[in-house]
Symmetry: C2
Subunit: 376 residues, 2 copies
Amino acid sequence: MTDRTNWHDAPASVGDAISAIDTPALVIDLDAFEHNLRTVHSRVKDAKVALRAHGKAHKCPDIARIQVAAGAQGVCCQKASEAQVFVEAGITDVLITNEIVGVSKAERVARLARQARIGLCVDAPFHVAQIAHAARTAGSTVEIYIEIDVGQSRCGVHTIDQALELARLIAAEAPSLRFMGLHAYHGASQHIRDPAERSATVLASVDTVRTYIDALAAAGYACAVVTGGGTGTYDLVAASAVYTEVQPGSYVLMDRDYALNHLAPGEAELRQALYGLCTVISVSPTHAVLDGGLKTFAVDSGLPRMVLDGWTVKSISDEHTVITPSGDAPDLQVGDKVRLVPGHCDPTVNLHDWLIALRGQIVENVWPVSARGALF
Amino acid sequence: MTDRTNWHDAPASVGDAISAIDTPALVIDLDAFEHNLRTVHSRVKDAKVALRAHGKAHKCPDIARIQVAAGAQGVCCQKASEAQVFVEAGITDVLITNEIVGVSKAERVARLARQARIGLCVDAPFHVAQIAHAARTAGSTVEIYIEIDVGQSRCGVHTIDQALELARLIAAEAPSLRFMGLHAYHGASQHIRDPAERSATVLASVDTVRTYIDALAAAGYACAVVTGGGTGTYDLVAASAVYTEVQPGSYVLMDRDYALNHLAPGEAELRQALYGLCTVISVSPTHAVLDGGLKTFAVDSGLPRMVLDGWTVKSISDEHTVITPSGDAPDLQVGDKVRLVPGHCDPTVNLHDWLIALRGQIVENVWPVSARGALF
């Protein structure tokens, strides 16, 4: 176990011009970021539900603190190790919107619950027993949400009977565990392009959620919180009169995939705030080559998109992106810097140690992606 | 600039059983790793060319040292920041098989050249001027390779005249720069499935390379080194009588994409050595869910493949992989651990801080991925 290298130095300093940023880097347009923050927080506030910002999108305590200062109830994350980063950064209310399995993970969550409000999802008796044991040992109380599958076909219980059994098991573990309510998230619905179809999927989820709430209430288990919804559906979910909390994450950054959603009338337009900044390292008669590739941009939702008109991303490989010009494309020279819109913000941010926050052309802040690589 | 978090703790300790490894994690089957190392190094040695192991695949100084101990001339990498990690780990001969652009990058390379042999590629006068200035200032000598495009359509010069101009510019910068020869790599040819077609592509590249060598020699610029070839073509390139060095990287780890190549008669079979280890976190009547997703596996070359017969990867999202059973699939329970073959090893390793080296079922070593995220 040698050569443990710490983080790479930041690619820019506060006050730098864009031209001084080392590349490839991720930059944030703060004007767009703040527009998105104001827009989503005010609409959720008007709907009288809570907003719990999803930290899995940015993994960045500085952004989490801005979201809390702008009215977020707290943050969500997906991993025990992410929760630790946010709690150590002073976030006092963290919900892990996922099941965790592993003694060290459960022990970590139980320890964190001595310092902050910590929520965790379960969908099987195994999860309840594991976190109950850890919380008992740590002398803490962990807030438990039953995850229900509302059409995502991933985690979550599928029957009312399963939910009732879990509620009984959770109640039996008081005060180590406290039953809070339901986690009901439909990830795929975030990316349905047609607004009517997107709305229909959310309404179907809401109907399912309501049957669980009613059955649990009839058995004496009141759901204080029902949480779900993301950047593509937060306003529909907020208006449902069933959910008490929404969990948008990508909204502050945005990406190419979300930009492909069509908006319903009255739906708020969010602006692209996250960009990859790359340098042209090679130019040929047919193409130019950029210094960022698959280790700079996640491509699970498609290739990044060039911002500069006339140039198109042709291909991407480990360390390079090849771009090709149309007839009227401006010339590019070795050393020129260009911006690209990532295909999918969450796994793209996870490739980087730093986010460079720009006000116009000047670096206003340099934020570490402290939970990058927090897999456990 | 707060909350700068260091690396996440290692998911295992030496001597642990597989069952004790925290997940998701990357594990290496050391028997397969050593088989691949022996096989490729002995074949390259028999062909009387040098082997320079590509460190971009593993980003791990421990593996680089094993490769050098097994006869590698040194390592390749793609970034100045990767070169620094390898030099600081004691590797004394590093070739950056890429163009770099940026004053801080050139200064870093020039500084490293005071401690180790450092090679760098160029394909434009800009690159020569930039590294010459930095090397002059640092008082070091950087070894320069002209990159030629042999069909990859990425970086590299396209004409003999370009190469001659660069050779003149490099020679004029002695002793800060030393002209070494040619870098001629055809990335796409590594993954051509049909061996005859793969061979034809390599032979075409070799013909191109020969014309450059001859033209440069006629002008007084002898190519001491001609370097290229990867895991899919190293034996063809080694047998070319034109290349003096091959650069395989993936060969020690392997991945799903390389396994799809068909072998020519007599071509050595390499074994899968790299696996993702995941835990089942949720089970339903139709599927099971694993605790690693897009932040554990790069999917640019396809989804990871389950090792356990009867289970197939259905989909992957940020934090989850959903697997589905065939009729005779063994039962999986929450808490079970399963292995998957990543689609593409290089960007997958870049998602992880640690590689867990297994001898059979026991952790024999825990290696930091020290150059993970080294983008600059």
